[in-house]
Symmetry: C2
């Protein structure tokens, strides 16, 4: 499609693509009764399963598992201590369901205890060598080409586009400028506490093993308002964790866009919804039918899934 | 100076103005050995006393006091209950030193218990009618013309400019787009908790009477990293509450700008520093001499203080 100026070339023609185009036209055309001034044009996207693949597991969990393995030689007690024992034995599911402290313990061991600068270097090094188990490509290759086009299309129409993710803000920010063309400040995610210290005579921020904010479910509207100061005009997600964000976005007056990605394409990507442990989609899909949110049928609506499909 | 294209027209020629121009030139000229790519060009400004006047009291405190008076008829017990009793009797200092819970109690009574939309309307209505006691003008007239020019100059050189304030994020955001031309998302301040609710069938965020984050002192580097994901290239403040932010900014390698506004002009504005209860400047000024931060002498360096001086 090089040289083609029509927007959203990787989206198949149909009701969903048309509804997106209509939404943007109605809210941005100067003579539209539904015109919205640019500062109020806020669009928020969930990350895992909405902007990039989240199967067979969240990318950040893959990072944490690899990091546990890497740190194991320096933590010899882990081989007898849960949840690390199960991870080192290759049974991640067992590690996660070991107890309510499993995830906090894994995060504390892998995401805390270093400066913010050091953590960035660790994530960057991992991304440079890790490969997705099915596609055997760097994880950042597994972004959805239609979503990148949608981000660019919204930006071209003076929308401010932010990522709103349950994933870690500082994990996502390492790759989002290059991968999505979105500034770091446009990433709103979960955070752990940091502490300002003078270390070796130099000021730094230390990452503490304590949750600061969990950006999931009803936390998403709270975080969006805290970071952006406005209710969005458009919200795009793919799981029940995005329901509150979409309710809040579309529950205001005026033209709003709520959209869910439904993973229906087992061949090119994955097919899953209500019974999936990753990216479970059940209640939000029911609300989509009640409230008129768009539902993207990945198999039907996307001509291309990943950027590497374009050149295949 | 209309039609004049030289930057910073309200700054007098001298060492401070020259140092600002040199800093921007060194970090942005393509052939400079100190060139910094645009995504890393972050500049942060404190608000009270740095971007607008903070005497005789912080503007947000004036708002809270007026709000206590407005709500008093519906809270008849306040006339016998501290800290409200002292406020209603006109003795704000007594109210503030009544006890460690005075400020949280005043904030809970005046800044919480409504939706975010309702709070915005309350602040907007107050700004429309309140006047500064000395200048008899709306508070938003008391912004510093040289700082507005500095913001525009930095933006013209592809800096992202954010406000980093101990004041309330949601209070500041109401007026910052119009007054400073800065988007709401470029305001990083103190926050109270909000909670997502469905009220009368509509989703909303309720402001809770509980502190979420105090963006002061060592909280400022923490908040900047949380919101922007980067250490700034330039930090500008005016009080000891800005010291950590400037230490962190200038403590990294490469060319950095740390700058303090010293209030030295009792005639056009106010003269105060180490003995002031509002905007106390003592330790940070000592650090400025040690670390080479610029110190703006308001009387010497600013040709104009307020925008209304330009037309006088």
């Amino acid at each position: 499609m090089t040289g083609c100026s029509a927007p959203l070339p990787s989206w198949n023609d149909g009701a969903v693509k048309q509804a997106i185009l209509t939404f943007v036209e109605r809210t941005t055309a100067k003579d539209s009764p539904d015109f919205v001034p640019p500062p109020e044009r806020i669009a928020v996207f969930d990350n895992d399963g909405t902007l990039w693949a989240e199967q067979p597991t969240y990318v950040q969990l893959a990072f944490a598992i690899d990091r546990v393995r890497e740190l194991a030689p320096r933590n010899s007690d882990w081989k007898d201590q849960q949840p690390f024992k199960s991870i080192l034995e290759g049974d991640v599911q067992a590690a996660l369901i070991e107890g309510p402290q499993s995830v906090p313990q894994i995060i504390a061991a892998t995401h805390a205890g270093m400066t913010t600068d050091e953590f960035e270097r660790i994530v960057r090094a991992w991304l440079g060598k890790a490969h997705h188990p099915r596609f055997q490509r760097p994880y950042t290759d597994l972004v959805y080409q239609p979503m990148i086009e949608l981000i660019r299309y919204l930006e071209a129409n003076e929308f401010r586009v932010s990522i709103v993710s349950a994933g870690g803000t500082d994990f996502i920010r390492v790759w989002t400028e290059k991968t999505f063309g979105l500034p770091r400040s446009h990433v709103i995610g979960s955070t752990i506490k940091t502490r300002f210290v003078i270390r070796d005579g130099r000021p730094a921020l230390i990452r503490e093993p304590e949750l600061d904010f969990l950006d999931e479910g009803s936390g998403k509207p709270v975080a969006i308002y805290k970071f952006l100061g406005r209710r969005p005009l458009a919200a795009i997600g793919n799981s029940d964790g995005d329901q509150a964000m979409l309710e809040w976005t579309t529950g205001a007056s005026g033209v709003r866009l709520g959209m869910l990605v439904h993973h229906t394409d087992a061949e090119r990507e994955w097919a899953y919804d209500r019974s999936s442990s990753v990216g479970r989609l059940e209640k939000a899909l029911e609300r989509a039918h009640v409230l008129g949110w768009l539902v993207v049928d990945m198999k039907r609506d996307w001509r291309v899934v990943f950027p590497f499909d374009v050149s295949r």
